[in-house]
Each structure stands twice: as C-alpha cells, then as structure tokens.
C-alpha cells in the first residue's frame, strides 16, 4: 500500500489522466444505457466530478493525497491551454459577426451582475457601501470579488462571501447550461459569444458549453475571457463611486 501511494504521488498528473478517463468512461455508459443519450456524457461526467469534490475540502478531491494530480490537470494552465486549442475549429467570420453583441453583452453582464448582487445583499441586511460593493463584485466572478474587495478595503468575511457568490455562479452555470440551452436558444456560435459575455465565469461558461455542444466552447470562452478584466476595471471604480453617491 505504501509503495502504491508513493508511486501515485510521484506520478500525480498521470494518475489524474487515468482517473478522468475512468470518470468519462463511466459517464459514457450511464449516458447511453441509463439516460438513453438524452444527457450528454460530458454533462454527466462534470456533475459526477462535482459530487466527487464533496469528498475533499477547499480543493475538492485534490485535498486527498493520491488525487492531488487532479489539481494540476484541472488547474488554470491546462484549462487555458486547451481552450486556446479549441480555437482551431473556430471561424473568424463568426466572431466578427457577433462583435457588437459580444461587447454589449460584456458591459451588460458585468453591470447587471453587480446590481443584482448589491440588491440581494441589501435585502439580506447589508448596508455598508464597501460590503455591498464587495458582494456585488463577487456576483460577477469569484476573481472580481476579492480584487474589488481588497481594492476598496472591505472586511475579509464580506470578501469571502463575495467569493462564495462567484463560486455558486460557476457551479450553477456548469449544471444548468446543458439543461436550458435549447430554451434560451444557445445553439449558435453567435449566441455562445453573447452567453460568454453575459455570464463571464470562464470556468462555468466553458464547462457548461462543453456539456452542451463542444463546437460552441471557443466562442463562449472568447468573450468570457474579457469579463473578469472588465469587472475588475468597473467595480472598484465607477460602480463603487455610484453606489457611494446613491447610499452615502
């Protein structure tokens, strides 16, 4: 057993490939036989992986020593690298066509996320402008939250709350995208770009689209990758200022 553990921890990344292969293989079988192809294998695998993450702690399954390699395979380096590779199948013409809608969706996406986050925080009893801004920013993405919170000097427990709102957004996006894709007409590259701009969490958008239709991933990822930057730009400056004028 000791020998096995040592072997695995020395080859963590490789073991992660094996694990993911097994998860996807099992999902393929479930998709085919239990769900009769109605739910794509990728969606089942992603949901299954989220459930497995409950066995760990803050890093999900990667908190368990022998599964630590999953954090490398699922880390931002491999995620961004493989997302860029999907651009090989994307067409520049389609990106141009969605240009205006993509830019608009980015601005609208950041603004409405912030506003809804602030309204809900206010309704739950938060009245301090710094607190509201940190939670509203967290509702954009879990990166915008702490960057904004730190910039304006919000307290650490409120920053943590903002991060959590962002994490919830990522997970809800991952789970619901394949289920509602048809209803919200998320079937074209054009709509995928709008979707990426509106939702903005790169991990949620790309995971949700991967479970919906692999062809749409590069388009959604393309706009989503600008969202966090725009959020970090607007939240601690204009939005914070406006909120101060409104409540202060």
């Amino acid at each position: 057993m000791e020998l096995f553990k040592e072997l695995i921890s020395k080859n963590g990344l490789l073991f992660a490939f094996l694990l993911v292969g097994l998860i996807l293989g099992a999902s393929q079988l479930l998709s085919k036989h239990l769900f009769k192809g109605r739910i794509p294998a990728a969606a089942i695998a992603i949901i299954g992986a989220l459930i497995l993450a409950f066995f760990g702690a803050d890093k999900g399954l990667a908190n368990i020593e022998i599964f630590a390699g999953l954090a490398v395979l699922g880390g931002s380096m491999f995620r961004d690298f493989t997302v860029v590779a999907t651009a090989m199948g994307a067409e520049i013409e389609k990106i141009k066509q969605a240009g205006l809608a993509g830019i608009l969706s980015l601005f609208i996406g950041v603004s409405f996320s912030f506003v809804i986050g602030v309204i809900i925080a206010y309704a739950m009893g938060y009245t301090d402008v710094k607190d509201l801004t940190a939670i509203g920013a967290g509702a954009c993405t879990y990166i915008v939250g702490p960057i904004t919170g730190t910039a304006i000097g919000a307290s650490s427990d409120v920053i943590a709350l903002g991060i959590t709102a962002g994490v919830v957004k990522t997970i809800v996006t991952t789970l619901l995208t394949p289920l509602v894709a048809k209803q919200i007409k998320l079937t074209t590259p054009h709509a995928a770009m709008v979707f990426g701009g509106l939702i903005g969490t790169t991990s949620g958008v790309t995971a949700g689209l991967a479970a919906t239709d692999k062809e749409l991933v590069p388009y959604g990822a393309f706009t989503a990758t600008f969202y966090t930057g725009l959020g970090c730009l607007l939240c601690p400056s204009i939005f914070y200022y406006l909120l101060m004028q409104l409540l202060g």
Binding site: A71, V168, K185
Partner: protein
C-alpha cells in the same frame, strides 16, 4: 510533425497571455485580461496564414487538435477540484446572489443574441 503543432499552440498561448498581462498592467490590475482571447485570435490567424505552406500538413494540425480534444477531460478534472463545500456553506446571501445572477444572465441570452454586427444572415445560424 505533431510537435510543430504543439509548439505553435504554445507560442500563441504565451504571446496571448503576455498581451493579456500587458493589458491588465495598463488598467492597473494583477492577472491577465483577455489573454486567452488574444491567444485564440492569434492561433486562428496563424492557422489561416500557414495553410498555404506545404510543410504545414495534417500532422502539424493533429498536434493542436489533440490538445483541443483534451478540453473536456481537463474540465472534468477542474470540476472535481472545486470548493463545493464553500458554495453551500457560504450562507443564504451568497447562494441567492449566485443563483439569481446566473438565472437572469440565462434569460438575457436570447434578447442580446438578436443584435448582429453584419446584415447578412445567410449562414444559416438565424
């Protein structure tokens, strides 16, 4: 050779990330802004440009396509390493805010999708 494709991909990735880092520095935040987007654009242009050369053959492309097909496995690994406990234990404010924001975002997709930059809609993606 496949390694040419992988090398091209890494080249585009690093340049894109670098540009994203520069843009982030310009607006005064840490991290990178649109790095992945820039890298994707670069790869698309590079692919379009290199097609005309004979040494840029199928095998080179296969080096990129392999990593593109590793995308879903990476996402599965990412999902398995999420902090799902925090998502649930963060209290109602975080939970309601996160869910509400996502649902409204979903509802806005069909509305904003109606905006088109060019008039021609003959590509069948209406």
């Amino acid at each position: 050779m496949k390694i040419y494709g992988v090398a091209l991909l890494v080249f585009c990735f690093l340049i894109g990330k670098y540009l994203g880092g520069l843009l982030a520095e310009l607006i005064g935040i840490s991290g990178d802004v649109g790095g992945v987007g820039f890298a994707m654009l670069l790869l698309m242009f590079a692919n379009g440009f290199l097609k005309r050369f004979s040494w840029y053959e199928v095998q080179t492309k296969a080096g990129v396509l392999f990593w593109s097909s590793m995308y879903i496995p990476v996402i599965v690994a990412m999902a398995a390493t999420r902090n799902v406990h925090a998502a649930i234990s963060g209290g109602w404010t975080a939970l309601i805010a996160g869910v509400a924001v996502t649902l409204v975002g979903f509802m806005l997709v069909p509305l904003l999708s109606k905006i088109r930059t060019t008039k021609q809609e003959s590509d069948g993606t209406i």
